[in-house]
């Protein structure tokens, strides 16, 4: 028998992986993008990876969503496949090279959504054992009403799975979205102690949150190589 591979989750790399989590409208993507700008300016090599973005898997996910043919289990598995492809292709190589990888959503998104859909909590945690453990996982905590106001005010149309319509919570898509987001938020709150998520109060001004995020990240950057950007780029 072959020796069992060390799952990525148990490996350590010279690079750093910072991820952000939170319900829709928590402002996590804005914060991650600001963090990225700052890290680049400080001369770090930064790779950015988005949830659900593997080119190999994307078409399958799109087909499944468009035709509404995903069950809770296949929804879970196709997103795991997507992350696996990104981890194998885009996350591990830069981490090995000592770079900083930023991910907008990670395994906790899957844990929250999939278990809200009725997937077994232990099963999905085991499924994602292949994932590299993040250096830090930020959770942007926001009251449901605040996030809903941000999202529903700004967005034209909610999508079927995004609103959790497959759960049959309500025939009204906006009402279904509210209930589903509430379920996801509850699950995030439970995961804070379970996984030691770093909580950021996302009701505060953007600048304040960003200062806190930067100071927490900075403490993890000791020894990470920097390649200062040539000066002219600052003035470009």
């Amino acid at each position: 028998m072959e020796p069992a591979m060390v799952m990525h989750g148990e490996q350590t790399f010279p690079g750093k992986l910072f991820i952000v989590e939170g319900i829709d409208g928590s402002g996590k993507s804005t914060q991650l993008s600001l963090l990225q700008q700052w890290l680049r300016r400080e001369g770090y090599v930064v790779f950015f990876s988005e949830w659900n973005s593997s080119p190999l898997v994307r078409e399958t996910t799109r087909r499944g969503k468009k035709k509404q043919m995903l069950t809770p289990t296949t929804f879970s598995l196709i997103h795991a496949t997507d992350l696996a492809d990104r981890i194998e292709r885009h996350i591990i190589p830069p981490l090995k090279a000592g770079a900083i990888v930023l991910a907008d959503r990670y395994i906790f998104t899957a844990f929250a959504r999939d278990t809200a859909r009725g997937v077994d909590a232990a099963w999905v945690r085991e499924l994602y054992k292949f994932a590299v453990e993040p250096t830090l996982a930020f959770y942007f905590r926001v009251p449901l009403e605040v996030s809903l106001k941000r999202i529903l005010g700004a967005r034209a149309g909610l999508k079927y799975y995004e609103a959790g319509m497959d759960l049959g919570l309500s025939d009204d898509i906006e009402e279904s979205f509210r209930i589903f987001q509430g379920m996801i938020r509850d699950r995030y709150e439970q995961m804070v102690p379970e996984f030691g998520l770093t909580v950021i109060d996302a009701t505060r001004p953007i600048e304040e949150q960003q200062n806190e995020v930067r100071s927490i990240v900075e403490r993890q950057l000791v020894g990470v190589p920097r390649h200062p950007v040539p000066e002219f780029e600052f003035f470009a």
Partner: protein, 239 residues
Amino acid sequence: MDGHRFEFYDTGLPGVDLSELQGRLIVIEGPDGVGRSTQIALLKPWLEANGHAVLDTGMTRSALAGKGIKQAKAGITLGPVSLTLFYATDFADRLENQMIPALRAGFIVLTDRYIYSLIARGIVRGLDPTWIKSFYGLALKPDSVFYLRASVPDLIPRVLGSPTGFDYWESGMDMHFGRDLFDSFVAYQTRMLGVFDSLAEEYKFEVIDATQRPEIIYRLLQRRIGQLLRRVEDRSSES
């Protein structure tokens, strides 16, 4: 009601009531070129002629992920973890959308490979067996698993005689087991056989010597499947 009860291997699928499943789940396993599809092509009309409705299914035939896997493999760009999970997606889609509805309707499901080939491919690619088996805890335990077993030297002429010859993936070329397709095929299939032999014990396969003539294997399968179905019919006539 015939008292037959399906079980999941472990966690199973949310929202499936096992007591509703009436049919039978029969698996034909074995390596590439061993003659699985020949046997299924014989068994299906035979079962239908005897009045059984049959669903036949096999790897990468899901409406959801089949096409995606084929495209990804054509580009030869899948890492072992992604490949394993993509196959699991394909399997789960077929289980939920083909096999379970067919079993609910009382069909005999005849499947060309099942989770065992997928588990073996992952293990041979260096993944943790416990991890792979954990998410295949969603699978139904089949009524029978017939494993058509042949040694690597037996397989080589069969694969060479097929229109496609040595397949990149069935030769494990993604793992660089050998410097060319032949070397890699031998190394990969040797490892696959080793894993299969241990799975055969763990999951109680019925091992069939696949070097016998196809008509002998067919008669053997007919007899065994006939026994399985008679048990069903006896029970339903009693009740």
